[in-house]
Each structure stands twice: as structure tokens, then as C-alpha cells.
Symmetry: C2
Amino acid sequence: MEIKLGRLLIGKSLKTDDLKDEKLNIFWGLPILSSDAISSVAYAGEEILWVLIPVLGILSYKYMFLASLCIVFLMFMVTLSYKQTIDAYPGGGGSYIVAKDNLGTIPGLIAGASLTIGYILTVAVSASAGTAAITSAIPQLLDHKVAITVFLIVFMIIGNLRGVRESSKVFGIPTYLFLIAIITMIIWGVFKVKVLGYTPAPVYDIPKITGDITLLLFIRAFSSGCTALTGIEAVSNGVPNFKDPCQKNAKIVLGLLSVVVFVVFGGLAYLATLYHAVPTHEVTVVAQIASQVFGTNIFFYVIQATTAIILIMASNTAFAGLPLLLAYIAKDGFVPRQFTKRGKRLGYSNGIIALGIVSIILVIIFRGDTHYLLPLYAVGVFVSFTLSQWGMFIRWSRTKESGWRHKAAINGVGAFITFATAIILGITKFTSGAWVVFIVTPMFVYFMLRIKKHYSEVARQLKLCINEKPKQINLAEQKRYVIVPIDTLNKSFLKALNYARTISDNIIVFHVSVDDEATEKLCKKWDEYSVGIPIVVRKSPYRHIVGPLVKYIESEEYAAGPMDTVTVVIPQFVVTKWWGNILHNQTSLFIKTMLLKRRNIAMITIPYIIEE
Amino acid sequence: MEIKLGRLLIGKSLKTDDLKDEKLNIFWGLPILSSDAISSVAYAGEEILWVLIPVLGILSYKYMFLASLCIVFLMFMVTLSYKQTIDAYPGGGGSYIVAKDNLGTIPGLIAGASLTIGYILTVAVSASAGTAAITSAIPQLLDHKVAITVFLIVFMIIGNLRGVRESSKVFGIPTYLFLIAIITMIIWGVFKVKVLGYTPAPVYDIPKITGDITLLLFIRAFSSGCTALTGIEAVSNGVPNFKDPCQKNAKIVLGLLSVVVFVVFGGLAYLATLYHAVPTHEVTVVAQIASQVFGTNIFFYVIQATTAIILIMASNTAFAGLPLLLAYIAKDGFVPRQFTKRGKRLGYSNGIIALGIVSIILVIIFRGDTHYLLPLYAVGVFVSFTLSQWGMFIRWSRTKESGWRHKAAINGVGAFITFATAIILGITKFTSGAWVVFIVTPMFVYFMLRIKKHYSEVARQLKLCINEKPKQINLAEQKRYVIVPIDTLNKSFLKALNYARTISDNIIVFHVSVDDEATEKLCKKWDEYSVGIPIVVRKSPYRHIVGPLVKYIESEEYAAGPMDTVTVVIPQFVVTKWWGNILHNQTSLFIKTMLLKRRNIAMITIPYIIEE
């Protein structure tokens, strides 16, 4: 029944060869890999105004437009840089690979850790923000905020386990709906003022303040708006997710993405200036604009609904991006190898599930409140931007291929700007949560190095020496030490004993006594049975099963020397009903687990199947 | 580190032979096996008044005293009956064993199920009520009610895992403190009125009602007070917990218990009559009496504190009783066998942990509110009383030993009264929750029968036929089919291959290919290795590992017939660090689990230990 449910939710298994059919074309690649970047536009302008309005009043709109231009410029720099990355790294890459390749292991791991943290926060923050949008519309649901957010994340886990392509269709459509709605609003909003001569009636009054702009203020405004850039990384990380020619398709999507962000972000900034929107805790800037442009009618609700949906869908970018990133890092041995494994539907299911669970835990701990999570969010993204672009800069300086000066200049300037932004974000948001990043990132890097060390050590110890061949063995001369543990004299034991007899005539039956009465009965039965195999009984006062057996094997009393391999034949009866297992002491499983740690013991499991 | 923590919490392991040192003497047996019974006295009188006061007003105290007398009479009947049970069942028993023995399996299981439900509710209700007492004193903790209750239950789980005797010292002292405090209050309270001539000043006014007593009303009052009797079962169930002579000690404790309940219950009823206490939702009857007897000073708080503590400790009776009961039922095969297993400190740890977890779940579901749980509580207890006493009645009628008429009369009357009480409780509390008992009990009984059937079937299939002896085998003539799966050509594989060569010269190396590139590399390496053992490669498009192997073994291509045993030698490298396991795909574990279900496959695990 569980299997059927799983199949219903996830869909039927797919062959490895089906992989190419699961890949994305441009039309679906845009929404699935960039809903995060597009959705962040919805609040980036508002973030800028939050910084400016309390100081500058009406003057804010001028500098907001300036800051937006700077951000758009920054975005084009980042986009150009990533286009160069896609060219240089056809296997897909993004910051982790670029930094590791050109700057070394540690910078690569810092980039990987920053990205991982960023992706996890994307899911937690976006899903929470989406829920907040829903509960603002339907206040009755406010009590169930956490439950709704968790449900949404579970929904996304399932969607992504179904596979990349199908999930793109589920998650891609709302992105297009949002774009159509927002662009319609921008066109109609500008037309209404500029052509029809409509005079905007602001929803809220602008504070009567006439402070003056300072460099610090402008920098703070600029850095707050930088959230518009989160999520751009996903495209260059996800190159192998595209249909062939994947590099070309990825570059086209990246180009389209920057155009979309430019249009939507610039358009909304311009509308905010025209309609004098003021950030408040009650109504978002986008909602204020929409209510003036359309009035409170169906169009207004369409804008609100698509905004809510795209915020939820934004977290899907992380579900598309992080499992792929983890698979890269896992191939290098820095995170558990299981992240390289493809699930039934060819997605990296372990990465999808891990991301889902960690973000659900974050949502539950922070009770679905984004305020504590947001300051942690952007720093990591800009750290990874910086490492990526600095890595590309080093690369060009090293290869000196044609046009390297031009390319190095783009990446160098980009690295400088994103580095500056990362510093600003780290300082201005340090006390409100960014300090967590400075603790968690080094911890991550440490664990990744530790894991790598473990894998290297395992590989070293498993590696065959040159010309290490199997031993030549004379079967007839083999002396094999075989022990069969007994608890009850039954068919399962007899089957094990029969098997033991096929490999050796040097068998001992071993019994651990935890109950004197039962032992006496067993010994009497064994004597009556008289098959010429000795039984050895050891009392176990602390009711341990394996200890006395190991002690006996290692004792001088037993014939095997310390270098001889002793074979333990373990009878195990197997019940066919799933609930049957909880009705039996899993003694044989336990024995096997304990004996595994002994170098010279081979364990033979003889299953005896109970039909029901 | 986990081990050390466990040891710190639970204490060092104890030998089976230490069992007799863990047993209870009379002094500690009284509080540990009867804190439930004693604590229920604290609210039984109040329950009676709740029924009477709204109808009878001042007249209530007369009938309260009458009802209390009936309950005390009922208690003496039950006590006498259980004394006879202890004599007849020196191995300990209580309702389950008595009913099963004399009335048959189904009545026995009904009694067992009723008791189990009762014990679980005891923990949930008493811990919740204890928490309520705490939060009434410290209202700031009200928000953390559920957390506190869960903490208390966890505390009791740990205490009981430490062992019966030690827990008796932890949990026994508060019972004595409560008794001393209450008896002091009774003596001083009576002395103050009768000798010093103090005129009580009731805290609340008695409603000016002068209704008349009816039989139904009296019966309802009586049945509400019957909660005073819950928990008496624990003593006769726990006979083997006592030091030798255990029967005598148990009977003494039961006698003492009935005296204690008589004194405390009777005394409190008399005080309520003297001081005209009125049940309210704000202040308990005991608290009203205490504040009049002592005034609001230190003595008042001692009464309140010890009442709170004994309520919490009451749930400990269930921790002492239920694991023992489950061990009895498990020995008969009606519940999972694991309940018969003694833990490190000789307690039935699985029963203790299961009880703790289930009651924690109940507390969380009902948010620590006892109102929904109380109506479910008493019905089960009286059902088991009835079955127990009816069983004893049948027993005397059958054995006809000396004095059987007298004994049968005691049990017969007891059975009739408790049956009547059970009916009354079932009817009056049906809609407020007792209906759950009528659904859950049959379900329990059904599952227990199902489990028994499973065990019987397993035993039947494992039982050796008469004269079924091991096969005589000529080792030299044995043809053994051995397969060694390979993933990578490394030391772990080589060790497995070497072992395989010691038992057969008919070996095949088998590779499941999920990655064409890796497979090609491996085959090339194997060819270069040239040890004269064939390699068989099967592609697995759906990335399954075990399926292709089983398919190959069963195919005609492979030499073994359907009745031959095929031995699969599985290389497994073992990492010594506990966290190492999460870094490796547990493929060999998975293969073993899947192959277990095949009748004619023997699995040999060859561990290869990685040092770190």
C-alpha cells in the first residue's frame, strides 16, 4: 500500500536513459530557474523606499530611481559575468565550481556553503512570505500559518520528486501569469498618467521631511534593493538541466531573465515615482500602485494573487538548484555521496528531501516569521557572487585567451562591486542576524573538509596494492571454523546447521544462556538429538548476546588462532507480513551488526521464510 | 558519548541475579504500588459533592457521608477479594490472569485491554492533573502546560528505567509526606471543632436548595466517588515485585492500603461535612478545608504542594504496574514478545517506554486537558474488577476447597457490585467519552488475538517434525554455487573473493551497471586482473541493484537449479566512527534485506574494517 501511495504521488519510475527527455527548453527553463529572481523584484523597490522615505520624504523617489539604475547596472554586470561562466563551464557550474577551479578548494567550499545557506533560506523565506500573502487575504487562516507553510513546502518536495520537467509545468505557469499581470499594470499605469492625464491619489501621505541625501544613506538604499539580484546564480548552476544546445539555451534564458528583471524592476520603480507609493506594514507598495492603477476590482486581486503565488514558487528555484549543487559537491567528496544518487524520477531525490526538511525545521523554529530570516539571506548570495567573479577574473589573467583583457575587466569590476555590496550587507545587517552566517559558513566548510578526509581515507585503505591478487587456495586442505548460534532447536536452526555442514565438518553449536531453565531444557533436547556436534553454553549475567560469543571465539579454549577467519552461521526466520517484524526480537539483526565490527568473522545469514 | 549519557541517566547495568535485590519491602511497596489509589482519594469526595450540592444543598453532606460509607464498603470487598487472589495466585496476577484462568481467553483479554487502557489514562490524567496543580500555584507557567506534563512523564520514564527499587525511593517519599500532612489536617481539624469549639466559616456559600434525594441521584453520587478505588489492582498485579515472602508482604500492603484509604477518604468526607466545603472550579475542596483548618499559612501550602506531588506520582503506579502486566500477556503471546525483555536495570524497559510514549501522545493531543480523558478512565477499571472477581467466584465454585462458600460469597457480591458500578459508569458517562472505551477495547482484543495467531503460526512452522535430523553431507562432493557482487575492484571486494574461494571453486563475479562509463572501466580492469573467474554484467535501467541479481540467479543461464542454495558473498566495508555510516550508501545492507526474502539464498557478509 505504501508503494502504491508513493507511486501515486511521485509517478512511475523512469529509466536513466530517459534523462534527456526530462531536460528543459527555453520556454520552461525561464520560469523554473528564475522565479526566485523575478519574485524578489516584487519587494526590492519597497526595500529601497523603506530606507529613504523616513529621511528624504518626497525627494526619495529621485534617489530610488538612481539606486534602481545602479542595481540594474550591477545586474547586467553579474549577467555578463555569468554568460562568460556558462561559456567557460559547459558542464554547469556557478560559484562553487568557478571558485574551486580558479581560487582553490577553500574559496570553492565557502562559495558552496554560502549558496547552500542561501538556497535553504530561499525556501523558508519565500514559502513563509507566500503564506503571509495568503493569510493577509484570508485572515481566518492566520492561526494555521505554520501548517500552511509546511504544507506548501511538502507540496513542492513532491512536485520536484516527480521530476524536473513536470514540475516546470506545474511551477512555470504562475511565473508567466505574474509577468503578464505586472507588465499590463506597468503599461496601463504609465498610459493612464502620461496619456489620459490622470492625477494619482496616493493611498498614504508622504512624510513632510526634507532631509538631505548622504553617501551612506544612498549605499544603504542600494544594498537593500540588492535582494532583486538573488536567484540569478540558479541559471548558470543549472546548465545541464537544459536541452541541447544547453550552453546556448542557458545563455538565452539568462539574457531573457535580465531583460525581465530590468522591465519589471524599472517599471515598478517608475510607477512608484508616478503614484507616490509609501511603504507601510499594512499594504505593500505593489498593492498601493495596483489599487490606484486599476481601482479595487478583479485586476487588483489578480495582481495580489499572482504575487502571492510567485513568492511561493520562488522557493522552487532552490529545489531546482540546490540538489544539483549538492550533487556537484558530492562528486568531489565534500558532502555525503548519497546526494549524487538519482531517484525514481531522475531528480536528485536526497537533495530535494534534505532541502525540504531543513527548511521545514527553520519554518517551525521561526514560526513562519520571515523577519528573523531575511537579514541572513542576501549576504551569502553576494559572497558567492564575489567568489565566482573573482575566480573568473583570475582565470582570464591566467589563460590570456583572445579578448581576455575585456573579459577580465567585466569580471573584475563585477567582483569589486559585489564584494563591496557583501561588505555593506555584512556590516549593516550584522546585529540583526547576519552574524549567524559568519558562524555557520565556517562550520559548514569545516564539516565538508572533514567528510572529504573521511572519503579519502576510506579510498586509500580500500585501494589495492599493485599486483595484489586473490590467494591461491586448495579447497580440500581448507580448515574452516564454523559456529552456529542456537536459541531454540527449530527448523530455522536446522536449516542453518545443514548449510554449515556443506562448508565444514568443524562445527560448534553455541548457546548464550540468559534463562537457566530454558538452557537446561535446550541442552537436554540437544543430547537427545545426538548428531555428534558439540554444544557450548555460556552464561550471560547482563543478558548480552554477542559479548559471550565474541569472548569465546577469542579465547584460547577455541581452536581458531587470532588470524583465522571464523564463520558464524546465523539462522534468521523471516516473516512476510510487514507488521510481523515488530513482533519479534531482531536478535539476528543485532548479532550481525555487532559482529560486523570484528575483523576475522564472516557471517552467513540463512533465511527461513514463514508463510502467512 | 551517547552511551555515557545513557549510563548517567539510567545507571550501570545490573545482573539478572541482582533481581531479588531490586524487590520491594513493605515500607517502600506501599507508596510505590498505591500512590494512584491514595491520590484518587484527594478528589473522590469532591466528585460526590459535585453531583449532590446542585440538587440537595446543605442536605448533601449527610448523603455524601452515606455514599462514602458505601464506597468504603465496596473497597473492603475489593480488598478482601484481592487478598484471596494473592493467595490463589502467588505468581502475581490481578484481573488478566484470574479472568483468563477461570473465565477463558476472551474475558482475560478484555480484562487485560481494560487494564492497559486504564494504566495509560492514569499516566496521562495524573500527570496533567499534577501539572494543573502546579500551574494553579504559578500561573506564569500556564502557557507551558503541555511541555511541563511531557517533562514530568519523561522524568518518570527515566526514574523507572533506573529500576524498581530506586524509583520507589524517589517516588515513595512524597506519598508519605502527603499522608502525614493529610492525617495531621484531619486530626487537627476535628480537634479544632469538637474540642476547641471552633465555628467553621465556609469559603463559599452553600446553594439555598432543598431538593430531595432519589435513588438515581444517590447512585450517580456513589459512582462518581468510585474513582477512589482506581489503582487497587496494582498491588495484586505486582506480587512478584515484593521481597519474599512476597504473598504475605503483598497482603499486608493491600491491608495497609485499605486502612489508609479508609482513614483519608473517611476523614476528608467528615471534614467536608464539618467545614461545609463546596466544590468550585477555582479552589479544590481539600484546599477549602485546609485554609479553614490552618489559615492561609505554611501548612496550607504544604497540603497543596504534597497534593500536587502525589498526583504526579500517581502515574508512577502505572509505570510499576503496566510493564509487568504486559510482560504477563507477552509471555502468553498476545502482545509483542519484546515486552518480556528486561532492560539494563532489570525493569521491563520496553513496557515503560511504550507507556511513556503513548501517554505523552495523549497529553499532546488533548493539550494536557483532563476533562476529555476522565470519563474514559473509571469504566475500564471496574470492568477488570468485575472480571477478576467473577473469575474468583467461578474458581471457588469449581475447586470447592475448604470454606469455598464463604469465599465465593465475598467474590460474588463483589462481582455484582463492581459490575453494577461498571454499568452505571458506562451509561452515565457514555456520551461524554466512555463510548471510546467500547470501541478501543474490542480493537485491542482483536489485535491481541491476531498477534497470538501470528506467533502460533510461526511456532508451528518452525517446529521440527519428529526425528527430523540434519542431512548427512559428503563435503568433498558438495557443489556450491557462489556469487560475489562487485561494485569497485578494491580490498574489501578482494577479501570477499578470497573467502568465497575457501568454500567453492564455482564462483561468478556479478556487476550491476547503472553507469555505462564506470562499468566499462571495471570490466577493463577485471580483464587485466585475469584471475580466471568470469564476470557477469547486467544493465539496470531503473537503477535497481538487487532485481537484476535475483533475476540472473533464477534465470536458466545460471547453472543452479531452483532447489539449489546459491551463496552470495557480500563485501561490506565498515567505518568505525558513528557518523561515518551516514556518508556511505548502505548498499550491502539493502542487498541483504532484499535477499532475505529469497528462500534459497544464503548470504555471507565479509566485513572489511576501515580504521580512522
